[in-house]
Amino acid sequence: MLKKTLVWLVLFLPLVVGTSVFAGTTLTFQSYSNPNEQVAQFIQKVLVPEFNKKYPDVEVNYVYIPFAEYMSTILQQAVSNTLPDLVYLDNPWVPQLIEADIFQNIKEQVMQDLGNDFWMDFFSGHRLLTSTDEGIYALQIHTNNLAIFYRENMLQKVGVDQPPRTWAEFAEVCKKIKENLGIYGIIFYAGADEAGTWQFEPFLWSNGGSLLELDQKEAIEALEFVTGLVKEGYAPRDVVNLKDQGDETIWFMNAQVAMMVNGNWEFGWHLLPDVLEKMGDVKVAPFPVPDAGMRSAVLPFGGECTGITTADAEKVKYSWELIRIWFKEKLDEYYANWTGHIPTLASYSTKIAAMKPEFEVFIKQAEFALPRPPMGGMGKYPDVSTELALALQKALTGSQSPEEAFQGAARNIKALFPGQEYEETKNFVRQTLMEVLERAKEK
C-alpha cells in the first residue's frame, strides 16, 4: 500500500509543484514578425525584460504566425474565443477589426499614461485608422512608404547625374538605361493582391485619381503611364508574377534593373549594411510626381499597429503596460536600433531623419501619406483593392486597354456600395485626396 502511494506521489508531485511554480499570469503577444526579425527581437530582448522588471511573475509568450496565415488565424481565434492578449498587425486590417469588436478601447489609458499631446503627435492618418468617435483601439507603431531605390553608378553610366523627379524624366531615364545598358530601367510589384494596389496608389493619387473613380481621366492616365513602362520594355512583364515586394530587391541586387519601387523596410530586410556596402552605390530618391510643380508624391502608408484583444481586466492591465513601455520609454531606442521602419509621430520623425539619413526621403514623404482603408471605402477596401489589382494586371498584360480595364473595375467597385453610400464615400475620398494634393503642390 505504502509503495503504491509513493509511486502516485512520485508521479503527481512534479505536476503539483510545476503548476504552483508556473501559476503566474501568462500573456500572449501574437505577431507575424519572424522571431529573428528586428521587431520580434526588440519585443523579446528589450520590451519583455523591461516589463518583467515591474511584473516578474507575468510570463510574456511571443507567438509567431506567418503573414500568409495571420488573418485567417485571427478569424478562427475570434470566433472560437481564443484570441491572444496582444496583437501586432498590418494597418489596413485595423478598421475592419475595430468594427468587428475584437479590440479593447484604450482611450482612457492613452490619455492618462501618454497624454493628449502624445496622441495628437501621431500623423493624422494613423489616428484616423486606429480610432473612432468612441475611442482608441490600437496604436500604430511604425510606418513606411515607397520611394525609388536606384544604382547611382548605372545612372551615371547613361549620363544621368540626378535621379528622375517627374514621370517624364522617369520614363526618359528608363529609356536610356534600356538602350545603353541593355537592362530594365525599373521594377515594381504588380501582383493581383493588396501589395499590387499599394504600389500603384502613388501613381494614382499623385495624379489626382481616386480609388472610387477609376473611370476618370486622372486614374486612366496613371494606368497608361505604368502600363507604358512595361509596354516600352522599361520594366519586365514578370512584375505580374513576382512573389512579393522582396522579389524586386533580388532583381535589383543582381543588377538586372537599375531602379526599383520599394519601401524603407528593405533597409531592415534585404538591404542590410553589409549588402549595401558590397553594392556600394544604392541611393534613394523620392517617388516621381506627374507634375514638376509638386513637392511630393501622394502615397499610401504602410506599417504595423498593436492593440489589446483580451477582455480579461488583469491581462488588459498587463498588455497596456507593454504598450506603454514601448511608446513611453522605449520608442527612441526602438526607432534608432530595432527597425527598418520610420516613426508615426511627428516629433520622432525629425530626430530619426537626423540620425538615419537613408530614411530622410521616406520621412519627408510621410507627411503626404494617406491611410488605405478610408481611401477605399473602409470595410469595402479589400474588395476595391482586389478590383484595382486585377484591372492593373489586365492592362499590364495587354488583355485590355487601360481605359477598358479601369472602366470595368470602376463599374464593379460602384456595385459594391449600396445606394447613396457610394456618393458619400466618393465625396469623402475626393475631399481627403484634394486636401493632401493641395499641400503637395504648395510651394
Partner: protein, 290 residues
C-alpha cells in the same frame, strides 16, 4: 467467436467521430454559410444575415467564376489524359528488366517527392519572361522574343496544366505499374505462343486486365486534380488578371483577398456538387463494369 452488434458499433465510434467532425460537419457548415452574407465583420460578430440564394446567383453571373470553371475543366481533363497516357507508357517501359531500372524509376518519382512549394517556385522562375525556358530557347535561336508562358491571360492556364502533368505522372505511373505487376505472366506467354505481337499484347491483355486499375486511377486523379490549389497559387495566384483561376483559387481569393466568405463557400459547395456527381457517375461505370 461471435461479436455482438453493440460491440461492433462501439468499435466504429472512433471512425464515426472522425467522419462526423472532420468530414460531415465542415461540409454542412459550408452549406450553411453559403446562404449567409458572411464577411470579416459579420463572421466575427456572428451577425451574418441570411440571404437565401443570393450568394449563388451572384457567383453564377460572375465572369471570373465561369472562367475558373472552364479552367478547372481544361486543367483537370487535359492533365488527367496526358498523365495517364505518359504514366501508362512509362509503366509499360518499366514492366521489363533493363540496366539501372531502379535508378530511372527513382528519377520518375522525383516530381512527386518534391515539396510543391519548391517545384511551384521553380516553375514561376522557369516560365517567367526572363526565366530559364525563354533564355534557353533564345540561346538556341528558336525564338527572338520571350514567350509569355505565364504573363498573358491566354497562355497561363495551359502552362500551369503542363506543369501539373509533370507533377502528376508519378502518381499515375505507380498505380498503373503496380497493377501491371499483378497480371499473370502466363497470359503473355500464351499470347506469344499464339503469335501476338507487342502492341496486340498491350491492346488485348494489358489494357482489358488493367481496366479496373485504370478506372480507379482516373477517378482518384480527377478528384485530386479538381481540387489543386497550391501549384496555381504559388505560380500565378490565379493571374494575370484572374485568367488562371481554378475554382479552388477563386474561392480562396474571395475568402482571403476580399473577405467574402459567403460567396467563397458557395463556390466550394458548387465544387462539392460537381465532385459528388462525378463520383456517382464513375461508381455507375464501375458497377456496369462488374
Amino acid at each position: 467467436m461471435k461479436i455482438s452488434r453493440t460491440s461492433l458499433l462501439f468499435f466504429l465510434i472512433p471512425s464515426l467521430v472522425l467522419v462526423i467532425f472532420f468530414g460531415i460537419y465542415p461540409i454542412v457548415y459550408n452549406v450553411f454559410l453559403s446562404f449567409k452574407d458572411v464577411n470579416l465583420i459579420s463572421y466575427i460578430r456572428g451577425t451574418a444575415r441570411s440571404v437565401g440564394i443570393a450568394n449563388y446567383s451572384d457567383i453564377l453571373v460572375n465572369a471570373t467564376f465561369w472562367k475558373a470553371l472552364t479552367n478547372t475543366a481544361v486543367f483537370t481533363l487535359v492533365s488527367i489524359f496526358l498523365q495517364m497516357v505518359v504514366g501508362f507508357l512509362l509503366a509499360l517501359l518499366f514492366d521489363r528488366e533493363f540496366p539501372l531500372k531502379g535508378l530511372f524509376q527513382a528519377l520518375v518519382m522525383i516530381p512527386w517527392v518534391m515539396p510543391i512549394m519548391v517545384s511551384g517556385s521553380f516553375f514561376r522562375w522557369f516560365l517567367s519572361d526572363n526565366g530559364f525556358l525563354n533564355n534557353f530557347l533564345t540561346a538556341l535561336g528558336w525564338i527572338k522574343e520571350p514567350v509569355m508562358w505565364i504573363t498573358t491571360e491566354r497562355m497561363a492556364i495551359y502552362s500551369l496544366t503542363t506543369v501539373n502533368v509533370w507533377l502528376g505522372i508519378p502518381f499515375n505511373f505507380i498505380l498503373l505499374y503496380t497493377g501491371m505487376q499483378q497480371i499473370p505472366g502466363e497470359l503473355y506467354e500464351s499470347a506469344a505462343i499464339d503469335g501476338a505481337k507487342g502492341w496486340q499484347r498491350v491492346l488485348y491483355i494489358t489494357l482489358p486486365v488493367l481496366k479496373p486499375v485504370i478506372i480507379t486511377t482516373f477517378v482518384l486523379g480527377c478528384i485530386l486534380t479538381f481540387k489543386v490549389f497550391d501549384l496555381v497559387w504559388i505560380v500565378t495566384k490565379g493571374g494575370p488578371g484572374g485568367a488562371s483561376h481554378l475554382l479552388s483559387t477563386f474561392s480562396y481569393s474571395l475568402a482571403f483577398d476580399r473577405f467574402q466568405f459567403g460567396k467563397s463557400t458557395a463556390v466550394l459547395v458548387l465544387m462539392q456538387i460537381i465532385v459528388i456527381v462525378f463520383i456517382g457517375f464513375s461508381n455507375r461505370m464501375k458497377w456496369e463494369e462488374r
